[in-house]
Symmetry: C2
Subunit: 353 residues, 2 copies
């Protein structure tokens, strides 16, 4: 059965009925909890004085990730680890902005153990080993555009987003800042330590999380698949095969070089990449959309490169399979049950159910 | 049946057997998810330019709290909202440092809906409306002392903590910084907004969370009980009844004044306060312990004040009822099942089960 073809028969009505039925059933969780993975320790020279403490002789733990996991009863054997994007946290995968079940709970219902990550220097993994200054920065309108809800203050016609003010407010509060400099290698080191603990795992990444996702798979042989929702940066190519930097109305998008032997590690497992709707086909001065034009172009080159080296990457541009209106957050859009079903079918076809 | 007397017959052996049996049973969750409560919006004057965005005309959402909630099947009617302490997050209430179930899951098993909070400017509620600079600060040894695990590098004899390096490492990674200035009123505003959404609620607070806990109950009539584990600051007294500042080897502890009519709002519901073990009875130069001597003294004055005004506060100094070895984190200590049972019995006696 063809994966993409099969998905095209999925309808919004079926998806909605499915969601309603799912929400009526209780979740049966055999185990849940949280822990930290990876990270480093830095110790200041000197002798600690218990009664008059200074930095001398004291240590700090930082640069770890935090994960909250749930294992459903009669779980499938391969867990899903979900890594958020830029200025987001594990929150991205929980309840949708309009209050429905997000991918955390939807994939628990499908029988997968689910691990949600706050990456190092974000959220509950906030202890950074490098300093940061956080300035309150008004970005709501930029994010509205850049996350492709519409062109502020107007929503795109047919966008898969509830347009009530309450939903938009919840969505905008998902934003949470870096507590240290963003470093994809720090993230990938911690992610690899997490996979050492979970064992063989499926990785879901979002947006900026795409880059550290590839770097995790280069570090760790136990990645069994990656599903990347709108990867936005960190496209790695073999040295000598790096495409030219792509200009856009939102700034240039540069690819990154890795040694060939590292790149080839991305050919060991299946990869699925999604992009949503409202991508311009020609350059435009509309910044919020134009940044995605070049990311889709870059992703297509990346898919060609991985597959040329023997890999198994599928890129799904959702409107091309009849699924329209998706924003930069397809896993929490109004049709997220349909997206979850589409992803689950991919995992099943790859023997990961 | 007397509440304190009944708890004294609880034994460690029974508690351990109970924990083991509990962990074998799956959790049945009727609903789970997350949302933000409270907070503000600040908008920069001017007109937003979609194509060349600056701060002009843009807004920022911040100073909200984040909560993750779970409602067990056949749940009790009154949920428990758990608020963490200084440099902590909702993580405090999840898995213990040595990998056992924390209060999140233990109280779900007792049938309570449980809401875990990341307070404003912390964890996943990181977007602050005021700036902050975060410097990596080595504090592990100070926290070891101050959280009363022992006197670094030695653990207290009989302390209720697993002493493996792995457990200590997990515990020290719980630390996560403020992403904006700490402001108990910002926390209490958001907590009150959360209780507006949950309806009548029981509040559990830890350490620094004690202060905003009282302030929440002053703001919101729907607090049905507060259980405060080692409240560490923010003791509020009626104007004119504020005790003198108490010096300690770790600095002075000052009480705070509130109008009498606000203070009287703390007499409307039952309150239970816990303190653990290894409190000095006389002033000592040992900083990590001496700060707790004055906090226990202040708490005793606070209990007298609330009860003098018609309140219902019980202070349990655990060693006095035969429960020994507890640190500043009784809800995650080795005997946390016994502590949970003790708290649950209090709630039952107050008709909150």
């Amino acid at each position: 059965m063809n994966f993409l073809g099969a998905c095209m028969v999925s309808t919004g009505i079926l998806a909605a009925a499915s969601a309603s039925a799912q929400q009526a059933e209780p979740l049966v969780i055999s185990e849940q909890g949280s822990f930290f993975a990876g990270g480093s320790v830095v110790t200041t020279p000197g002798t600690y004085n218990n009664n008059v403490p200074t930095a001398e002789g004291q240590s700090i733990h930082g640069d770890h990730l935090y994960t909250f996991y749930q294992i459903p009863q009669d779980a499938k054997s391969t867990p899903i680890v979900m890594l958020h994007g830029h200025m987001q946290s594990a929150r991205s995968w929980e309840t949708t902005p309009d209050g429905r079940e997000g991918f955390q709970t939807l994939f628990l219902r499908k029988g997968y153990p689910v691990y949600l990550v706050d990456q190092p220097r974000r959220g509950r993994a906030g202890n950074s080993l490098e300093a940061a200054t956080i300035e309150p920065t008004p970005l709501d309108q930029l994010f509205f555009d850049q996350f492709r809800l519409g062109i502020w203050p107007d929503y795109f016609e047919g966008v898969q987003v509830d347009q009530s003010p309450e939903t938009l407010e919840q969505f905008l509060r998902w934003i949470t800042p870096n507590t240290g400099p963003y470093d994809p290698n720090v993230v990938a080191d911690a992610m690899s330590a997490l996979v050492d603990r979970t064992g063989p795992a499926i990785l879901f990444t979002h947006s900026q999380g795409g880059g550290p996702g590839w770097l995790t798979a280069i570090r760790n042989e136990d990645i069994r698949a990656i599903v990347s929702y709108e990867p936005g940066s960190g496209f790695v190519f073999p040295e000598g095969e790096v495409p030219e930097t792509m200009p856009s109305a939102g700034g240039p998008l540069a690819a990154e070089a890795v040694p060939l032997e590292d790149f080839q590690k991305l050919t060991r497992f299946p990869i699925l990449i999604y992009y949503g709707d409202n991508f311009p086909t020609e350059p435009t001065e509309r910044r919020g959309e134009d940044i995605w034009r070049v990311r889709l172009d870059m992703a297509k080159l990346w898919v060609e490169a991985v597959n040329r080296h023997g890999g198994d990457v599928t890129l799904v541009h959702l409107p091309e399979i009849g699924i329209t209106g998706n924003t930069h957050f397809p896993f929490s859009d109004l049709n997220n049950v349909e997206i979850a079903d589409h992803t689950a079918q991919f995992l099943a076809e790859k023997g990961l159910d």
